[in-house]
Symmetry: C2
Subunit: 287 residues, 2 copies
Amino acid sequence: MRFDKSTNILIIGLGVIGGGYAAALTSKGYRVYCITKEEGDIAYAKERGIITDGTTELDTELIGRAELVIFALYPTVFIDWIEKNQQLLRPGALITDVTGVKGSVVERVQSILRPDVEFIAAHPMAGRERSGVEFSDPEVFIGANYIVTPTEKNTKAAIEICRELGRVLGFGRITELSPEEHDKMIAFLSQLTHCIAVTLMTCNSTPELEKYTGDSFRDLTRIAKINDKMWSELFIMNKSALLSEMDAFSLEFERLRAMLVAGDSEGIREMMRRSTERRSLFDKPKK
Amino acid sequence: MRFDKSTNILIIGLGVIGGGYAAALTSKGYRVYCITKEEGDIAYAKERGIITDGTTELDTELIGRAELVIFALYPTVFIDWIEKNQQLLRPGALITDVTGVKGSVVERVQSILRPDVEFIAAHPMAGRERSGVEFSDPEVFIGANYIVTPTEKNTKAAIEICRELGRVLGFGRITELSPEEHDKMIAFLSQLTHCIAVTLMTCNSTPELEKYTGDSFRDLTRIAKINDKMWSELFIMNKSALLSEMDAFSLEFERLRAMLVAGDSEGIREMMRRSTERRSLFDKPKK
């Protein structure tokens, strides 16, 4: 297949990410169709010109026409969809996804998929702490990171189309990792941070703390507003990598605690200087 | 003393917070003088109209004229200044501060201070991860929290002036806590968050992580760019309260880990729902 403005694009799952993809693609002149659960979300998206058309039905004609299908579903729902409905896909279709774990998802989907359809996985490193199409915002992709996770089953052409999709969506840095490398990276950068935010938000139940808070606590807990269904699924699907990152964090936290107990001011300052230096690498590139 | 636009205000320490106070007060028509270490900072602040005048000298006339003195120094430097120079303060002067720990600072300063000068402590819950007057921004105070920490040695009049200062600076919520309550609160809301951010930034040294990061990791580590001298001092001065908050965090983090090991999806989701609900209390009031 080719990927240009005449490509028939179908997004399955019009949530905060699917909606953002739809808005970005439509605004650049692509034709985007969608299938999603709620009638209201389709009405919302059509009204705002985010999609060309959509349905809540398993519309065989719509699916059969789609050349590029983007699955913006929970991992288990995505796998389930492929198991039940892949016979509806167009021969030669390319499918991609946005799921936050790759190892188990990519292996499962690629192993059961028809040979005339190719699945190239990708993870947009941008999101919102709210879910639903009404919180979608294509601006969050601008300058953000986009990770493509090919396997030996992928063709060069499909990898290139997936990268091109990332460029069209506005991502700033497009990289490739194996599914396993991705999951290790994500366990640290994304899942551990969510574990920490949730823990921080629930470990102290003193009333009225909000009256005294500053921005640092707000920043560290922004993502403590969390989609419990999706994130518990992501954590459990990536359990061993996440446990190992949690343990590395705990070990370093204990090291800081021990220095504090000992009043080791120089040790604490050295750790802070390292942290300051390392953090400067992570500033977001200007839009 | 009274506090109005004719009040002679002296800020000692023109860093990111002192500079922000100066800019806010000056923009509202108050006359602000300052004493600080660097000539360059005074030149910078005068050029931008942030202060009326300033000096790097221990100017006895300037100090002797000041009716309201705001110390924006590190805790130990503040105590040291009072020990060495309090004889220069004007009889009847009111002094306040911005330091991030209160118990040891307030007790020490109030116990050694001349009886004709009153110290009322306050903590502006707003800052910047950068230090220096060139990063000061009075906008950070707008809508933020401001905590006054009176003791039985303070007069009602002084407490009221300190609250009024908070209002003039633009703070949104002005509250009172005892120094001890303040330190317990701050151990959790501010110091623990800095411990976590620094730990997260130093517990994984995999190269090129920044190529793959999303905003959640950036948010959790914004404050990992840290003034090591000031924060190590704050941690150690509030050691016992901070250790107890670190331990409460670790206990809850271990509980999450155990649920993950057990694959207890419902337990994890319940914790996330609690976190989501509790976080909504902490949204910043709109400016």
